[in-house]
């Protein structure tokens, strides 16, 4: 199964070269970034001073207990939340979206309810340059083909002209993924993009995502609860402590690419999983009660 990328600005080889030349650059950098929501007594510390540096073109998975601040880190990177302390630099600038083309799949697939699935998926093309200017100039039909091809890949053929409320939870999540990918972003922020899917659909999408990454080498930050998923997809896995979160472990995943599902049953892989499990178990132990934080 191959990822369909029409009108891709670069061939696969060109992309590889480009990726290598950018390799030294830092795509996302959090320095002592902390986030506290609310004020005074009711404040919730979501993120402790967090250090995270993601070089351009890397695939990083973020795992950790529920409520530890994973989504908050993604929102920091997307510029949707400002750090209450520390600095967040994306693509060399503090304003994320102006610096890098960002694709984000939110944890809750918030589709705009007045748009069909296809229109929702095409939304980034309406907003982000260079597609934006083309969108106005009759390129709409070819963009629609692009959207349909993506939707077909995730198994949503025939649902393009439905409205979001006509889709099941898992189907929405797949459409959400399409919306994050359609404009070939350089920074991909994925918040549990496969959570509501059955194992098989999930594994299929892993492969699609891996292929995509191998060709275009975007920087990817993936939040997941599935350690197999993290191991299969990522170059690096960051483990977070319980809220207020902080990165307590950062390990490289060395398995060769392209990885296969079979690989995930190999002893090395299982050992990695086990190590992560233990780390998270420890992390959860230390969870303080929220209001007393």
């Amino acid at each position: 199964m191959h990822f369909v990328m029409m009108h891709a600005p670069l061939t696969a080889i060109e992309a590889e070269t480009a990726a290598r030349s950018r390799a030294a650059a830092i795509a996302v950098e959090l320095s002592a970034a902390a986030v506290t929501f609310g004020q005074g007594e009711r404040a919730v510390a979501a993120l402790q001073a967090t250090e995270l540096r993601i070089p351009d073109g890397e695939f990083v998975a973020l795992v950790g207990p529920s409520g530890c601040g994973k989504s908050t880190i993604l929102k920091l990177a997307a510029g949707l939340v400002r750090p209450s302390a520390g600095v967040v630099v994306v693509g060399g600038r503090e304003v994320a979206a102006k610096a890098l083309r960002i694709g984000m799949a939110f944890q809750n697939p918030t589709m705009l309810p007045w748009l069909t699935i296809e229109q929702n998926v095409m939304l980034p093309l309406k907003i982000v340059e260079p597609y934006r200017s083309q969108f106005r100039r009759q390129r709409k039909a070819s963009f629609r083909d692009k959207a349909h091809a993506l939707l077909a890949q995730v198994g949503l053929t025939g649902f393009a002209t439905r409205y979001p409320w006509q889709l099941s939870g898992g189907m929405l999540q797949r459409a959400n993924l399409c919306r994050a990918l359609i404009h070939e972003p350089r920074l991909l922020l994925l918040d549990e993009p496969f959570g509501a899917l059955d194992q098989f659909t999930r594994e299929e999408l892993w492969s699609i995502l891996q292929d995509l990454w191998l060709v275009h080498r975007p920087t990817v930050l993936l939040v997941t609860h599935d350690l197999r998923e993290a191991g299969f997809l990522a170059n690096r896995i960051c483990v977070m402590s319980a809220r207020p979160g902080r990165i307590i472990d950062d390990s490289a995943v060395a398995f060769a690419r392209p990885r296969t599902i079979a690989m995930t049953f190999e002893p090395d892989f299982v050992a990695l999983n086990q190590r992560l499990r233990d780390l998270i178990t420890d992390a959860r132990r230390a969870a303080p009660a929220p209001s007393e934080a």
Partner: protein, 259 residues
């Protein structure tokens, strides 16, 4: 399933007819003087008899109202968007508008007349002045209550404030925009008629004024019926557009699934 739908429509029409029958009966039974409240049958007879004479007035009022209404809608959207987006506008423009809106427009009509002469222009302005406020309020509220999650979808893409307004704020606000249109169009008619009674030689307002000074109450009520009918006609037109534009918001699957 066309059967129950038709029955539904018939029942509704029946109830509306019942309303007029009730009015008729009330007038007859209570011995109400037709100087105060004529019987609907009287009004209908007058209406039919005088329709040829009334026609140019109807056209005049309708055209004036539509112009004022369209301008009012444009102004309402503009100000509503401004207030919904900018805190400063919320704090300054809102109170001024509330103040202006609390003023009976009949007090400003003379000013319009003295500036622009009597006739269509003051009527258009009065219709505009009276109808834009509900639109402002609903657009502003719609924008202010837009879920940040929906906006975040665009913000993450680096969309400008205007992009967000255009792609999220305004579409989300549509149901309440259409709600305010219903209010605005009725008030636009009131505004036009008001101005026509103050200074104009044509229009339903003028007819009503002359009917009232002739003690011709059935004709006065015929004027009111025409206004009501125009209001309802435009309401129906908007409803059709509304159903197309805001269908997403009024989907109702209450227990219904059957094909």
């Amino acid at each position: 399933m066309p059967r129950p739908e038709i029955r539904q429509k018939l029942a509704s029409a029946g109830l509306i007819v019942l309303f007029f029958v009730g009015w008729e009966v009330f007038c007859v039974v209570s011995g109400m003087s037709d100087l105060i409240l004529p019987r609907p049958s009287q009004v209908f007879v007058t209406l039919v008899q005088r329709l040829p004479v009334l026609w140019p007035h109807i056209v005049q009022t309708l055209v004036t109202t539509m112009i004022g209404f369209i301008l009012g809608v444009a102004l309402g959207i503009l100000l509503g968007a401004l207030i919904g987006v900018s805190k400063t506008a919320y704090d300054t423009v809102y109170p001024l508008l509330i103040g202006f809106s609390s003023i009976p427009k009949v007090a400003v009509v003379p000013i319009f007349v003295l500036w622009f002469g009597s006739g269509t222009v003051p009527a258009v302005l009065t219709a505009l002045a009276i109808c834009f406020f509900p639109i402002v309020v609903n657009i502003a509220t719609g924008l202010a209550t837009t879920e940040p999650e929906l906006e975040d979808v665009l913000k993450a893409l680096g969309a400008s404030k205007f992009d967000i307004l255009w792609n999220v704020g305004l579409p989300r606000t549509m149901p309440f925009f259409f709600a305010s249109l219903k209010v605005a169009i009725t008030y636009a008619f009131v505004g036009t008629v008001l101005a026509e009674t103050v200074a104009s030689n044509r229009g339903i307002g003028n007819v009503m004024m002359s009917a009232s000074s002739n003690f011709n109450v059935p004709l006065l009520f015929a004027g009111l019926f025409i206004l009501a009918a125009l209001g309802v006609a435009l309401y129906v037109a908007f409803s059709l557009i509304e159903a197309r534009v805001t269908g997403w918001a009024t989907r109702r699957n209450d227990l219904a699934a059957a094909a």
